[in-house]
């Protein structure tokens, strides 16, 4: 293995490859920063470039594009509440309010440091444990996935403001329902498509995220006239004293969590970022940690998703599926034999991830003062900017005009829901988890074939079931412990 790492170091430090990792990271992070554009778009745009390179350089560059886009993705989440990819939704929960309070620079800096740490810790874990962790990816099957998804859904309580738990649950249910539009994954039946080809694939995530976050925010700015709604000027562009110390443990534990969840094929990075936010918010109200946790987790998860991709040849997400296609066309056959057939590529890519993360940090930090100034743009300029960018972003990914009308409709609906006090994050969470939850639940029912004793023979399932129960029981237990005991003595 050490021999392999040395070989990988040789590949990664080759001047041409250094150039390509830097180029990939630059392209990825810049595309990722734009609202509505995420890793998939970034990779799709760079595919033609990769064909001109030799296999190692091509894969190193494309990997750079991928984690570069995840790195940059937090920018639009924090600045204009327009997450370009599901895994940065959680970053906007604490990041956007912080940016509106005049601390855009600080929020971006925290996100950049946390992303860097998450990416680097992930790359280190990948280097040391890639081979050993391949079996972790197959340990989780439909029953476990079902419960993990239920666990993720249970965490909506963490996003709910005080006294709004019922509204959060309703919003999550709406999200789950929107997720059923399109072709049913199990039986191939059309649901709620009204015979339209445009709805056959369901509603795209990017469309809904842009509509309920960015567009609804823009509409909200239009409908509220009070001056207080304006952004305060970005006062600080640096970390505050104590931020570094506060986020260090957060970043550490959430990188580990993110990496482990990221290995699981499925929505690794998204689930990881939601779990991280939920987990962190349970005992830590510091908004700096609320940004650091999902950012560390999603970058670590992105690195973790290379475990099943490289060692099993199985893509865990849409983005890694595109990467797999790129690898095949470069003549790299990922899978258990990659280590024997192409050790230089295998280790070279992993080692290049450290270099890539350094490049990303060096690239992102100096840009922060300039980018955070975007938020000072006056409202009459900013609103059309946000609306136009989110519409263009959606059109770029689907190139379908119908989607634009759909998006405007959802934007208006979201504004109405918002004015009635429904939080929109649970809606998006429900939507993201809906398809996967249904698919795994149906398979589980089919597998157990009417008898639930099978679930008890799977230890992981049992543990997850207990964790879900604990989350739902927690408020009742808290109430029981704080109940008024007897007559107050006086």
């Amino acid at each position: 293995m050490w021999e392999g790492i040395a070989q990988g170091l040789g590949t990664a430090l080759d001047p041409a490859n250094l150039l390509w990792v830097a180029a990939g990271c630059c392209a990825g992070t810049l595309i990722g920063m734009l609202p509505g554009l995420g890793p998939i778009t970034a990779i799709a745009l760079m595919i033609p470039v990769s064909y001109t390179l030799d296999p190692a350089a091509g894969l190193i560059m494309m990997a750079g594009v991928y984690y570069g886009a995840v790195f940059g993705g937090s920018t639009s989440s924090i600045l204009i509440n327009a997450p370009g990819v599901a895994s940065t939704v959680a970053t906007s929960f604490d990041g956007y309010p912080m940016a509106r309070a005049g601390e855009a620079g600080r929020a971006l800096a925290i996100a950049a440091y946390a992303s860097f740490a998450g990416g680097t810790i992930g790359a280190l874990a990948l280097l040391l444990f890639a081979g050993a962790l391949a079996s972790w990816a197959t340990a989780f099957q439909s029953p476990e996935y079902t419960l993990i998804l239920v666990l993720a859904l249970s965490s909506i309580a963490a996003f709910a403001e005080r006294g709004r738990v019922a509204r959060s649950c309703v919003a999550a249910l709406l999200g789950l329902m929107l997720g059923t539009v399109g072709t049913d994954q199990s039986a191939g039946v059309q649901r709620f498509t009204f015979g339209r080809l445009d709805l056959m694939d369901g509603i795209s995530f990017i469309l809904l995220a842009m509509a309920v976050f960015a567009l609804a925010e823009a509409f909200h700015m239009l409908t509220t006239r009070e001056r207080g709604g304006d952004y305060r000027p970005a006062a600080s562009v640096r970390l505050r004293k104590g931020d570094a110390r506060a986020i260090t443990p957060t970043v550490g534990r959430n990188s580990a969590l993110g990496f482990l969840v990221g290995i699981l094929p499925g929505a690794g990075a998204t689930l990881a970022s939601f779990f991280a936010y939920d987990f962190e918010k349970r005992f830590n109200r510091n908004p700096a940690c609320g940004i650091a946790a999902p950012e560390a987790a999603n970058n670590a998860a992105c690195t973790g998703s290379f475990v099943p991709l490289l060692t099993l040849g199985i893509p865990g997400s849409g983005t890694t599926a595109v990467l797999l296609g790129v690898m095949l066309s470069l003549g790299i056959q990922p899978g258990p034999r990659l280590l024997e057939t192409d050790p230089a590529v295998f280790w070279g890519v992993i080692v290049s991830m450290y270099i890539g993360n350094l490049v990303l940090l060096a690239l992102n930090l100096p840009l922060i003062p300039y980018i955070s100034r975007l938020i000072q743009i006056s409202r009459p300029v900013l609103i059309p900017f946000v609306a136009a960018f989110s519409l263009v972003g959606v059109y770029l990914t689907t190139s379908n005009v119908f989607d634009l009308y759909l998006m405007l409709g959802f934007g208006v609906a979201a504004l109405i829901l918002r004015s009635w006090g429904f939080p929109l994050a649970p809606l998006l969470l429900g939507f993201i988890l809906s398809g996967m939850l249904e698919e795994n639940l149906r398979r589980t029912f089919y597998l157990v074939d009417g008898s639930f004793s099978m679930l008890l023979h799977r230890p992981a399932t049992l543990v997850l079931a207990i964790a879900c129960a604990a989350i739902w029981m927690a408020p009742a237990i808290r109430w029981w412990r704080n109940r008024p005991r007897g007559e107050p003595r006086s």
Binding site: Q141, S186, A187, L324, G335, N400
Partner: protein, 324 residues
């Protein structure tokens, strides 16, 4: 007045040259391929590999690609057929689901709305088990299923009633199993289905040879049977279904089609171009790299092949209750 005259002369010569060169340039230099799927999938890979081989052999100057994803390929198809002016000389790549989805009434269009050019590659259906189960053979699985159709849990990378399920049903039906009662678990893509097989959630996987080859070569999985008419080179020790007494032959083809409004000479030149390509060493190298088997059916031969496959699928689906 000499100068302007000579200028005019030069200009007219240039114009004449351009006029002569332009149609040739348009026909031989640029080729546009529409891919009715997102970047990175199987169709995308086939189109781009073919495009690169064409450029490498200088059968086309530049090949451009356009991914129109959506509606399981339906959107790309309808855009291609409706914009005849724009796509008059372009090609669209497609595969077996073109026929399948028409039969299921998911598409309004069929291959009859296109001009078949070439059936390029075939991906045969295979039935796979984990390698740790050395006792399993196709016949032992079939015997167990004949006694109890619910004895084996089978999986595939697509919904019930789509390709992987139908191929399995076709084979099991021919082997005398009540295919309608066999348990089939659908997964979101072949990769996740393979993961379920490796993780022991399913016992038998119905999938395509191309995407499974790396797992076979790595010794993680073993193939019980293949739907090819004869044994294929990549896995020579695997018997065909025909050898095993189930006369079922089925290939998931991938091929290219021209616009319904294509001119006859353009159609002929497209076919000629792919005849040259498929006979070349460059293309054999590509096939080997991706683990594809050549199909090599051109023009009318390809149309006849599609018609046969359509009637086979129609019968099977009606018999097994997959048509809606």
């Amino acid at each position: 007045m000499k100068l302007p005259g000579s200028r005019r002369g030069t200009a007219s010569i240039c114009l004449a040259l351009c006029a002569c060169l332009f149609p040739i340039a348009a026909a031989a230099e640029r080729l546009h391929i529409v891919i009715p799927a997102a970047a990175g999938g199987g169709l995308d890979g086939t189109a781009r590999a073919a495009g690169r081989a064409l450029t490498a052999m200088e059968l086309a100057g530049t090949v451009s690609f356009e991914n129109i994803a959506g509606a399981g390929g339906g959107r790309g198809l309808s855009v291609f057929v409706e914009n005849t002016a724009r796509f008059r000389e372009a090609l669209i790549v497609n595969s077996t689901p073109l026929i399948l989805r028409r039969l299921q009434n998911l598409y309004p269009l069929s291959f009859r709305d296109l001009t078949p050019i070439v059936g390029l590659v075939a991906d045969y259906g295979i039935f796979v088990v984990r390698n740790e189960e050395p006792a399993d053979s196709w016949l032992s699985v079939v015997t167990r299923l004949r006694e109890n159709p619910r004895a084996v849990i089978m999986g595939g990378g697509s919904a019930r009633g789509s390709l992987d399920h139908i191929v399995a049903a076709l084979a099991l039906d021919a082997a005398g199993v009540d295919a309608r009662r066999v348990r089939y678990l659908p997964y979101d893509g072949g990769g996740k289905a393979m993961l379920a097989l490796l993780g022991d959630e399913i016992e038998l996987l119905s999938t395509g040879l191309g995407e499974t080859l790396p797992f076979i070569r790595a010794g993680q999985v073993r193939v019980l049977a293949i739907t090819a008419p004869e044994r294929v080179k990549a896995i020579e020790d695997v018997p065909t279904l025909t050898e095993l007494g189930c006369p079922v032959r089925f290939a998931n083809w991938r091929g290219l089609f021209a616009s319904p409004a294509v001119d006859e000479d353009v159609r002929v030149s497209h076919i000629q171009r792919f005849r040259t390509l498929t006979a070349s060493d460059t293309w054999s190298g590509t096939l080997e790299q991706y683990g594809w088997e050549p199909l090599n059916l051109f023009g009318e031969d390809f149309t006849r092949y599609l018609e046969q496959q359509e009637s086979l699928l129609r019968e099977t689906m009606a018999k097994l209750g997959f048509t809606r």
